[in-house]
């Protein structure tokens, strides 16, 4: 199984069967992040200016990506690294597999990486007989559970400590108490041996600095450093959107990222990797490979509205404040990336038909755009993609069922002709009179039943127009 692209993403279907424990587990964690983020943001007087600078840097980089990628490739190569261009997920998987096969790799340790989730790399490695182990605690947990990440930075956010303890007991055969410290100790003990014996380390990157060919990773557990320094071979799989021009830009983005993501001034570990080790005696791997992943990004970059999704620096703040995400959890979004950013990324990367529900999985409340450290106009992009789903554009075919379009045309007709609207306004109270109780409508036929199944509707009772008319008449009278 390649594991990279999902079938039809049934957000609505899933939302009817959200496991009971998910909303409370997600809310507990995300509320904490919202609080710490707010505290760190409040410390910086010019946070809004910083966001604008971050936004400008990302926008500028996307608009000049070809140039920065060329510089990046040259600098990585000069530093002794090898760059592999992968235009598709399959190309990227094959590039990694080829490197592994050529060096008889039997075991891999992985740092947390969304790019490898995107291409389903673990499945491909396992299918090739290569033992692959996630070493980020959250990733380790969901790998044991046989699941994907349900949050960008907290992959196992939907699980409570009791569930994790049960999982450890079942999969590891150890006596695991529901205590985070103890659970971490169990995972750490098991991982230590793996770090020391793995043939290859795989990572992603938070940023790639073009001017020096440097890969930047921020982590809090130290596992990323182990993965990228202990094995003799380091392979990084990174989306082409992760490039930043220079170190000056990087400082802005690191500041925005750590404060927005975990509410830290700076993460515990910030790693800068420029090529492999240069001389015997230096630490670090002998070989460094950078797989640059396109996988549809170039195509999306042609769309001036949609491409803003690639300004994203993967902080997860949009999910933490999203009332929809908090109540359905990450798996409702059906792919490796969830929350508001997933709702605007997946429909662009996948076929419109597959992800057609996702742009609608939002009330357009705007909480996400308010916290986004690089000012991605998420509601605007949601509307843009809804337009694509409804009417199609040069980047995608329409995907909504025909009756929805017919209903929209009828609505348009009724609302753009005042007499039809006013006639309806006069008729609705009569049409619903028999269902009216105490000023409310408790049940209504489809499609309004989808409203009344949740809460009653106030009774239709338009009288303002008559009142106004009578008033004008008596004044003139």
């Amino acid at each position: 199984m390649s594991g990279e692209t999902p079938g039809y993403i049934g957000f609505g279907e899933y939302s009817q069967h959200v496991p009971h424990s998910i909303p409370s587990a997600v809310k507990q964690a995300t509320d904490r992040f919202v609080g710490t983020r707010a505290a760190r943001v409040a410390e910086i007087d010019q946070w809004e200016e910083l966001r604008q600078i971050g936004s400008d840097i990302r926008q500028h980089t996307l608009e000049n990506l070809d140039r920065y990628l060329e510089t990046l490739e040259a600098r990585v190569t000069e530093a002794g690294g090898q760059v592999h261009w992968a235009s598709s997920a399959e190309d990227a998987r094959q590039a990694v597999l080829q490197i592994a096969r050529d060096r008889q790799v039997r075991s891999v340790v992985k740092a947390k990486s969304m790019a490898t989730e995107e291409i389903g790399l673990n499945h491909a490695l396992e299918a090739a007989g290569i033992r692959t182990l996630e070493t980020d605690l959250g990733e380790y947990i969901i790998q044991l559970a046989g699941m994907g990440p349900s949050h960008i930075i907290v992959p196992a956010v939907h699980l409570k400590k009791e569930e994790i303890a049960a999982l450890f007991r079942e999969k590891l055969g150890v006596d695991a108490p529901a205590d985070p410290v103890e659970l971490t100790r169990i995972a750490r003990e098991r991982l230590r041996h793996e770090f020391l014996t793995a043939d290859m380390g795989i990572s992603g990157a938070n940023f790639l600095v073009a001017e020096t060919g440097t890969l930047v990773m921020v982590t809090n557990e130290g596992n990323g450093r182990m993965c990228t320094t202990l094995p003799d071979l380091h392979v990084a799989v990174v989306g082409i959107d992760k490039v930043v021009p220079d170190w000056e830009s990087l400082t802005v983005l690191l500041k925005l990222l750590s404060r927005s993501a975990t509410g830290q001034k700076i993460t515990t570990y910030t790693q800068f990797i420029t090529g492999p080790r240069r001389a015997e005696g230096e630490s670090g791997p002998k070989e460094f490979h950078l797989v640059l992943l396109d996988n549809g990004r170039s195509r999306i970059l042609a769309d001036p509205v949609g491409r803003q999704v690639f300004k994203c620096i993967r902080c997860g703040a949009c999910a933490n404040v999203c009332p929809v995400y908090k109540n359905v959890g990450g798996y409702a979004y059906g792919w490796f990336i969830s929350g508001p950013i997933g709702a605007i990324l997946s429909p662009q990367m996948l076929d419109t038909q597959v992800a057609r529900e996702l742009p609608y999985a939002s009330t357009l409340c705007g909480a996400c755009a308010e916290v986004c450290p690089v000012k991605i106009p998420i509601p605007t992009i949601l509307r843009h993609l809804r337009h694509r789903m409804a009417q199609g554009d040069e980047f995608g075919s329409p995907a909504l069922p025909a009756p929805v379009g017919a209903a929209a045309r009828m609505t348009s007709l009724a609302l753009s002709r005042s007499w039809i609207y006013r006639l309806g306004t006069r008729l609705l109270p009569f049409a619903t009179a028999l269902l009216r109780r105490d000023g409310w409508l408790k049940t209504l036929p489809y499609p309004l039943s989808r409203w009344t199944s949740v809460r009653p509707l106030p009774a239709f009772g338009a009288r303002f127009r008559q009142w106004w008319k009578a008033r004008v008449r008596s004044e003139n009278g």
Partner: protein, 245 residues
Amino acid sequence: MPTVQLFITCLGDQFYTGTLQNMVRILERLGVEVTFPAEQTCCGQPLFNNGFDDQARPVARAWLHAFSQSSAPVVGPSGSCISMVKHHYPELFPPGSPEHHLASDLAARSFEFTEYLVRELGVTDLGACYPHRVTYHSACHYLRELGLREEARLLLNAIQGLEYIPLQEEDTCCGFGGAFSVTFPDVSRVMMENKVQNIIASGADTVVTCEPGCLMNIAGGLRKAGSNVRAAHIIDLLASTGETA
């Protein structure tokens, strides 16, 4: 004497006659002459927000036609509908077109009701009296698209006898979201229930908001929960004289 054109919004029209009447009374009491363009229907936001730009355009044209007969400002009881007119109408028509010009002109003189009172007229005390414990739900578009953060609170604090009680998660969406409420009713439900629980837990006997959509959702949710908390548009409190609740 300033004149305004009343934009009653389709939800106001269908469900909140009393609120609209109160709006007229308040404005007239402040010496504002109120006119009502009867050709108006809906701003077309339900179509626009769901990606049907081509279908939203004729509705926007009809709205622009109805309100461009006068040069008076437009005032409406909904932050969301006003934001549609202010921010999205100009996007619907290509720059340079007569419609774009018209949309930009009306965008500049369209105001949400509390915005008009506080920012345009500079009024916060309307002499209202409402001796109750009141909490406030901050509507999403009102707050984030129009940037109206304190206007409602200023008006509430000037109401005699009113005890203002802050609401937990005041600015978290109530789950209405227009078509969202019927597209994903199960998600809308949990969001609404979360809002209703916070309102009940606040201990207030009244919850106000500046948005007919949120009001329908929250009032219906409170009723479903069997709660006695009254949900009202802020206009209804501002028109209150204290005798009736």
